[in-house]
């Protein structure tokens, strides 16, 4: 680890952070503003400084300019005054004191009396002449007089400003010495002038209100000083160094104000001219300018600060808002990520008219990814169609639109199906949809588990835990329902209470686990015995209840199933390696016979059950005693039937079928007979139904098939002419799915060729389950077996269905044949059937032909074959054998004689032993 480098990078990082901070608007802008402010003020001060210097320089120059002008003016005026003095002197020397002035006046050499007072004093100080004329006064005490008397300089003397009796005004006195011809002191020439004269050139525009314009003497006292409008004198003059007086600002001693003061020494007179521009005034413009600058700078600064302040505030607000938004987003993200529900933020898509046409996924959370099997990026921007392909059809779309328009929160459950990359998923989902601006937020939860749990709970509430069978409450429900339905339809409901005998023994002997196991097994067995629409439930302990709904009002129809149940319970059970056997006692009631409300029914069923127990268990008792009687009989028969097959009490008889034209036996129909040891021969009418009910028909039918095939094969093996043997197949057999197999097996086992087997099916059978029947028939036909419809015309059949049956023969039912002779309707039907059959390429055979008339009619109407007592009743195989042998002999003989066999007598039938 290079620590030095780490430190440097740390510094760099810190620096970067500072720069970043600085670059944030609400920091950088104030800094920038500050910079600008500094700039503004620096510039302002700079310019002010420059202006000040310029102003001062200008003032100084102005002061100097003014002093130059003033100096010139002063020089001129002083020069003029001095000239006047000299002229006066000359005039006095020429004309004498008295005549000087008039002479000068005449010549226009006197200055204007408005402004100047010219006078002459004699050597004694008496004024002897003056212009304008004034009274004569004594000036001998005056300093100027004394000065001139004392010294004979050729220079003028300027007095201080004074006043004398001659004149109320204050005047400056300019004087020169007068000499007589001897050069002695002869007096003084005086020119008096108002001090204001020397400052009358004061112009406000140049000097301002407080400018100074003045004249002072060597004694440092102002002879005349004008400040603004006021003229004054005797004020102290400023003390100036050698470099002063060139316009620099100094404090004026007389009023303490600072003035740009310039002075010039006036030669010829010991006077100094002074010009002072008041600093304040001179710089007033500058001050104004400065104020302006400051004002501008100040307002500019204020505006800048305001703007920056506003922008800063706004930017800070923005940052804060952005931060808040970010925080909100983070909060949302955290909440949505942590949530166990899938979040979908949807945006609504509208068309140009403003109606919503679609929804687009804008954002999702991780849970949503899991739910849909697609990543967040894959989902974003997708139309909702992508994850809910059919959402526009299933009503979800309308629902979403409604929420968007109406607002509020909307909840719904639905079974959603959607595509994922891993296949189609189907879950129970719960959604909460909230309208937000521009769209919706949908929160989706997978509630499949909940549904399953709910289902399980519901199941548990209604079903017994051990056996899984309906419990008491469900049984009660079902019973109520069954009664309601039965009432409406006018049918019956059978209820059986089943109590296990010997259960306690097992429970005590082998333990509770074994007992439970027993119950389960028994429950399963009983379940197998009942239909789907029936209810088997466990009432509790070792009690079970069966509800058989939609029953006909015949206890006998119940017998098979009840017997079946009894037997299945009685079968041995293997528990923990131990074989146990229990039995059951059943009490059976029927609604409405044994009660019209559930309570009565159950009570009576209970009673019946106890009776069954009393009667020795392992049996079932109907509550209505009478029912028991017929049932017993039936039971016995059923028992016998079951046994019959095993002990071979069945045998087949064969009834020949003859061709109506040739009279030859073309086939036989195999018919079953049962010979009961006690009851004798039991008619098939009795036991076939029972066999069908109990399902024994399958085994019996198979035996029939096997036997018939074998017999036919035997006849063929005996060298007899091959004939077909036809076997009746009952509806119950047809329903059994292995029928075709059994037939094939029979053919195989017997070695009989399929062409010599015919299967006869009743019309009603076919219509029961058309599609399935047709399929099986096709299969049989494919094997080479021929098919025929038995008892044609007695059931409901569709003529259009007829054309789809793969049959080869129609058997006209005996009911039509019986009255062929007399009944024109039967005749018509027979004829129609024959015609129909022929048109469909079927052979038509008539059953139950007993009279010659019937035979004649049939033959005349081109019926193909017949079967009936007229020719022969059903006979044992040996008789058939004999018949066939006889027929063969006849055929051989007739072939020689050329006579047809059938000449109209039925003697052949009687030859046969019964």
């Amino acid at each position: 680890m290079n620590f030095a480098r780490k430190g440097a990078s740390g510094k760099r990082a810190a620096f970067a952070r500072w720069v970043g901070l600085g670059l944030e608007t609400h920091i950088s802008l104030p800094l920038f503003a500050l910079l600008l402010l500094v700039l503004i003020w620096t510039a302002t001060t700079h310019f002010i400084g420059i202006e000040r210097v310029a102003a001062r320089t200008a003032a100084r120059s102005a002061s100097q300019e003014l002093i130059e002008t003033y100096e010139a003016q002063m020089q001129r005026n002083l020069g003029g005054i001095d000239q006047t003095l000299k002229v006066l002197k000359y005039a006095v020397e020429l004309k004498g004191a008295a005549g000087a002035l008039p002479a000068l006046n005449q010549q226009g050499l006197l200055p204007s009396g408005l402004v100047f007072v010219v006078s002459i004093s004699d050597r004694n100080g008496i004024i002897v002449a003056s212009n304008p004329a004034s009274k004569s006064i004594d000036v001998s005490a005056q300093r100027y007089f004394l000065f001139h008397r004392e010294s004979d300089t050729n220079t003028p003397f300027v007095s201080e400003t004074l006043r004398d009796d001659a004149n109320p005004d204050w005047h400056l006195h300019f004087t020169r010495r007068l000499n007589d011809s001897a050069g002695a002191f002869a007096g003084v020439a005086i020119v008096e002038v108002d001090p204001a004269y020397f400052t009358s050139g004061y112009e406000r525009s140049r000097l301002g209100e407080h400018g100074a314009l003045g004249l002072y003497g060597a004694d440092g006292v102002f002879r005349s000083l004008r400040i603004g409008d006021k003229v004054m004198w005797d004020k102290p003059a400023p003390k100036l160094g050698p470099t002063d007086g060139h316009g620099d600002a100094i404090v004026s001693a007389w009023d303490g104000k600072r003035r740009f003061t310039s002075v010039r020494r006036l030669h010829g007179f010991s006077l100094v001219a002074l010009v002072g521009l008041e600093e304040e005034e001179s710089l007033a413009n500058f001050e104004q300018q400065r104020r302006n600058y400051l004002w501008i700078a100040g307002s500019g600064s204020a505006v800048l600060v305001l703007i920056v302040g506003l922008v800063g505030v706004w930017s800070w607000q923005l940052t804060r808002t952005r931060r808040r938004i970010r925080r909100a987003q983070e909060t949302y993200a955290a909440a949505s990520e942590a949530s166990l529900d899938a979040f979908f933020v949807l945006g609504s898509v509208s068309d140009s008219k403003g109606t919503i046409i679609d929804f687009v996924i804008e954002a999702t959370n991780t849970r949503a990814e899991k739910l849909t099997g697609m990543g967040k990026h894959a989902l974003r921007g997708q139309s909702l169609v992508k994850i809910l392909p059919s959402y526009k059809e299933t009503g979800i779309f309308e629902d979403l639109i409604k929420v968007t328009l109406v607002g509020g929160v909307h909840e719904a459950e639905w079974q959603g199906e959607w595509d994922t990359p891993t296949g189609v998923r189907q879950h129970w989902l719960h959604r909460q949809v909230v309208a937000v601006e521009g769209g919706l937020v949908a929160i989706v939860r997978d509630i499949t588990e909940r549904k399953v749990t709910e289902e399980r709970i519901r199941h548990m509430a209604h079903h017994d835990e051990l056996t899984g069978l309906p419990n008491r409450s469900l049984i009660r429900d079902r019973l109520d329902q069954a009664i309601l339905q039965a009432r409406r339809r006018g049918r019956c409901v059978a209820v059986a209470f089943i109590d296990l005998d010997g259960f306690k023994l097992v429970n005590d002997g082998l333990g509770h686990n074994a007992g439970d196991e027993l119950l389960k097994i028994v429950g399963e067995r009983m379940s197998a015995c009942v239909r789907r629409d029936d209810t088997l439930g466990r009432f509790g302990g070792d009690e079970f209840v069966i509800i058989l709904a939609d029953q006909p009002d015949s206890p006998l129809s119940l017998t098979p199933v009840l017997e079946k149940i009894r037997q299945s319970v009685n079968e041995p059970i293997l528990l923990d390696g131990q074989e146990v056997q229990v039995s059951c006692s059943m009490g059976v009631v029927m609604y409405p016979r044994d009660g019209d409300d559930p309570n009565t029914l159950m009570m009576n069923a209970d009673a019946a059950m106890y009776r069954a127990k009393d009667l020795g268990s392992n049996n079932f008792q109907f509550y209505t005693r009478e029912m028991n009687a017929s049932v017993e009989e039936k039971l016995m028969l059923l028992e016998g039937l079951r046994n019959a097959l095993e002990v071979g009490q069945f045998h087949l008889l064969y009834q020949p079928k003859v061709d109506l034209h040739s009279g030859l036996i073309i086939g036989v129909e195999a018919l079953i007979r049962w010979e009961h040891p006690e009851q004798g021969v039991v008619s098939p009418l009795r036991f076939i139904g029972l066999a069908e009910e109990s399902g024994l028909i399958v085994a019996i039918g198979e035996w029939v098939l096997q036997t018939a095939c074998r017999q036919n094969r035997a006849w063929q093996d005996a060298g007899l002419a091959p004939i077909t043997v036809s076997v009746n197949v009952s509806p119950r057999q047809f329903e059994e799915k292995r029928l075709v197999e059994r037939v094939a097996q029979a053919l195989y086992d017997s070695g009989l060729d399929a062409a010599h087997l015919e299967v006869e099916v009743t019309e009603s059978l076919i219509m029961r389950d058309l599609a399935q029947s047709v399929d099986k028939m096709r299969e049989l036909e494919a094997m080479g077996i021929s098919l025929s419809i038995d008892d044609f015309g007695t059931g409901y059949s569709s003529l259009s269905a007829l054309k789809s049956f793969p049959i080869s023969r129609l058997k006209i039912d005996k009911s039509f044949v019986r009255e062929l002779a007399d009944n024109p309707d039967d005749q018509a039907i027979a004829m129609a059937v024959i015609s129909l059959g022929h048109k469909l390429n079927l052979r038509v055979i008539a059953e139950g032909v007993e009279t010659e008339q019937q035979c004649t009619f049939l033959r005349d109407n081109e019926c193909d074959e017949m079967q009936g007592y007229l020719f022969s009743r059903p006979v044992p195989p040996a008789v058939i054998t004999a018949m066939l042998q006889e027929q063969a002999r006849m055929q051989a003989g007739c072939a020689q004689d050329g006579v047809s066999y059938l000449s109209g007598s039925n003697t052949v039938g009687t030859n046969v032993p019964a």
Partner: protein
């Protein structure tokens, strides 16, 4: 030219009384006079009339020519005379101190000299009559044919 008046020194109280008397007289004199002044030029002069401003400008040395271009030279009456004071008061709207202050500045700055002081109305009239360039003011009563009035002072 009038004789110079010699004023003897008097005591302050007496001086004051005298001043008061003079003032009253002057005032009386003023009202008695209500003297109409006229501004005159020579009868030979082509000028027929002048406005007060024009007259004031000439007398204050602002312009040196008559309208028309001929030279104009003003003549004043004696300093301190009522006619003089009245003239300047009415035509130039200046009191004697103002007139003095004006000429002080003009003289000092070298911009001009005051009109020559000639004397009374008669003397002025005589001089003006001879010289068409001259212009003066006299008492109305002193008018004669040798001069013409170009402005009546009101």
């Amino acid at each position: 030219m009038g004789a110079a008046m010699k004023q003897l020194s008097l005591s302050p109280a007496k001086r004051l009384a005298r001043l008061l008397a003079v003032a009253i007289l002057a005032l009386a004199g003023q009202s008695a006079l209500a003297a109409e002044l006229v501004v005159i030029v020579s009868a030979k002069s082509p000028i027929t009339s002048l406005r007060p401003e024009q007259v004031a400008d000439i007398f204050l040395g602002q312009i040196a020519n008559f309208p028309g271009g001929t030279e104009a030279v003003a003549l004043d009456q004696r300093l301190g005379s009522p006619e003089r004071d009245e003239f300047y008061s009415k035509v130039a709207s200046k009191t004697p101190p103002l007139v003095k202050a004006y000429w002080t500045k003009m003289i000092f700055t070298g911009r001009g000299q005051p009109p020559k002081e000639v004397g009374g109305s008669a003397a002025i009239r005589k001089m003006v009559a001879d010289n068409p360039a001259l212009i003066g003011y006299i008492d109305k009563t002193a008018l004669d044919a040798s001069v013409k009035a170009v402005l009546v002072v009101r």
